[in-house]
Amino acid sequence: MSWQAVAEKDFRDAIRSRLLIVLTLLFTLFSAGAAYLVTEIDPPQQAALTGEVTTVLLISGLVSATAVFIPIVSIAVAYRSLAGERDSGSLKLLLSLPNSRLDVVLGKFVGRSGVVAVALFVGFAVGIVVTASLADAFSPLEYVVFVGISMLFAFVFIAITVGVSAFTSSTSRAAYGAFGLFVVFQFLWSSLAQGVAYAVNGFSFEGIEEGDAVFELFQLLTILDPTAAYQQGTLWVVRSLDESGELAANNSELAFYLQDWFGFIVMALWIVIPLAVGYARFESSDL
């Protein structure tokens, strides 16, 4: 297994390009700025009611921002990962050595994930200081959990982008492909889910009620969006930490895919499937 060698080389290359420094600064600015925005300028409605910005409220405010910011950063970091080496010809150097194509895909995923993970961790470590000083009742544990789940979400978009980069043979196509998927997940997915429900229901919304099969299908489709899964997963963990399991008890009668933990399964699938599809295509193609 030489994916470690590929990952290490890739990570080193990223550090040299100052990518790591730029990303760390970006994440620092983002986490501090977003915390400030949520607490001081545009607090969640609930906080306005109670007059208190808790960590939970802060995080629910942050999640909608990270859900956009993290994918964009991840795509920028990873779209060139394989297609770029293919374009330049360094892939030939890489594959002249005893690296399998699986080593290359996994190594790239791990290497780029490492870059984003370090930047995100450092950036949010600075953010935690800002947040602690701004939130009225700050809980470090919830914040750390939030950072952890956000990191997982970053890995999802790195996996998707590395998968796309392995799938295509040019960097421009990799960029369009990955960014296109992001747009779909971010803006079009819920419309698509509605459209499917509409079509399944005989091209009408009439008669769809909570609890029937079509509605359940719609709910399942909605949660399969990695961005929705991230938001749902984060809120589930943070809430259950905050309210010591009260909500979890209420949820236990719902279908499995409506359980909040299902968001994590969805995220795991969105890591494995794009990598597998990208690898399968990369493995079977001529350089």
């Binding site: 030489s2 470690q4 060698a5 590929v6 290490e8 080389k9 080193r12 290359d13 040299r16 390009s17 330049s88 010809g89 360094s90 030939k92 150097l93 594959l95 002249s96 050595l97 005893p98 690296n99 399998s100 001529d286 350089l287």
Partner: protein, 302 residues
């Protein structure tokens, strides 16, 4: 055991038939030169050996293993200098070699390898600033990691100056002296002549000859040129010479005549000149230039 065995290998890219049933065997321990004009299928053949591309038909075995199914095992024991590669601009020469060491799971030290290819002074420099020749040297150092059993070099001397080409030849020879099989491609016959035990010539996706250089000369026939010095070239001399049986070409330049002919008509050619009234002061035999030999096989006229 053969180091490389190709059996009926075919590969098409769209309408272009890049390889049309190539059969080739390279013996263990030999230096094999793989020749052909650009676009003849040299790189395609090498890419098939490395599993960069997959043949449509035929079998490819390298170091006794299937080039497709056991590609990683093949590349563990093979050093490769690919064609049309690029380096990692931001990594130093030393980091490149270290990466090759890590990938191969070898325990070499990068420095002696860089020294061997003449990059010892550039070990700590980023490869992005390297010239083509330095990139070639760097890739060669990476290829030498782990003392490979087989070296596959695709157009290794491209971008090297004459000095670099000589050093490359020395490296190839010293590796071969240790029992390493060397397979390298070139479109210039002169480069392979000095080092190769055998050469294969590919043309239009087909292997047209596999032999030693001497063997190729013999096969082409009429390979030698008679150079005759005369006091003055008689009129009609070249015309008369060409009409002799066994003479394929005769040209005059000042007082020098060059006659391409079979060995047993050389004396006939000289006496024909004397009959025409020329005073022959000197004559000698030249072997056919390698370029002519190459052109005879590849059909490429200068």
């Amino acid at each position: 055991m053969a180091a490389i065995e190709l059996d009926g290998v075919e590969k098409s890219f769209g309408d272009v038939r890049a390889l049309r049933g190539v059969d080739l065997e390279v013996e263990d321990g030999e230096i094999f030169g793989f020749l052909g004009p650009n676009g003849a299928g040299k790189s395609t053949t090498i890419n098939v050996l490395l599993d960069f591309i997959r043949p449509d038909a035929g079998s490819v075995r390298v170091l006794g293993r299937d080039a497709r199914d056991d590609s990683v095992a093949v590349r563990e024991r093979t050093g490769v200098l690919p064609e049309g590669f690029d380096v990692y601009d931001r990594l130093t020469a030393r980091e490149h070699v270290q990466f090759a060491i890590d990938s191969k799971g070898a325990d070499d030290d990068p420095y002696p390898l860089l020294e061997q290819v003449g990059l010892e002074d550039a070990a700590g420099r980023k490869a992005g600033g390297f010239s083509t020749g330095m990139r070639q040297r760097l890739a060669l150092a990476m290829a030498l990691v782990g003392d490979p059993e087989l070296l596959v070099l695709d157009e290794p001397s491209s971008g090297l100056d004459p000095n670099g080409a000589r050093e490359l030849r020395e490296i190839v020879e010293s590796e071969a002296a240790d029992g390493t099989t060397v397979f390298f491609s070139s479109h210039i016959l002169g480069q392979v002549e000095a080092v190769c035990d055998r050469v294969g010539i590919i043309r239009g996706g087909e292997l047209v000859a596999v032999d030693t250089i001497e063997g190729l000369r013999e096969n082409v026939g009429g390979g030698s040129t008679l150079v005759v010095e005369v006091d003055s070239v008689p009129e009609e001399a070249t015309h008369r010479l060409k009409s002799l049986d066994g003479v394929s070409e005769a040209t005059a330049d000042g007082t020098t005549l060059r006659i391409t002919c079979e060995d047993d008509v050389k004396m006939d050619a000289v006496s024909e000149l004397e009959t025409l009234g020329a005073d022959v002061s000197d004559f000698s035999t030249e072997e056919a230039p390698l370029e002519d030999l190459f052109a005879a096989y590849t059909g490429v006229d200068e």
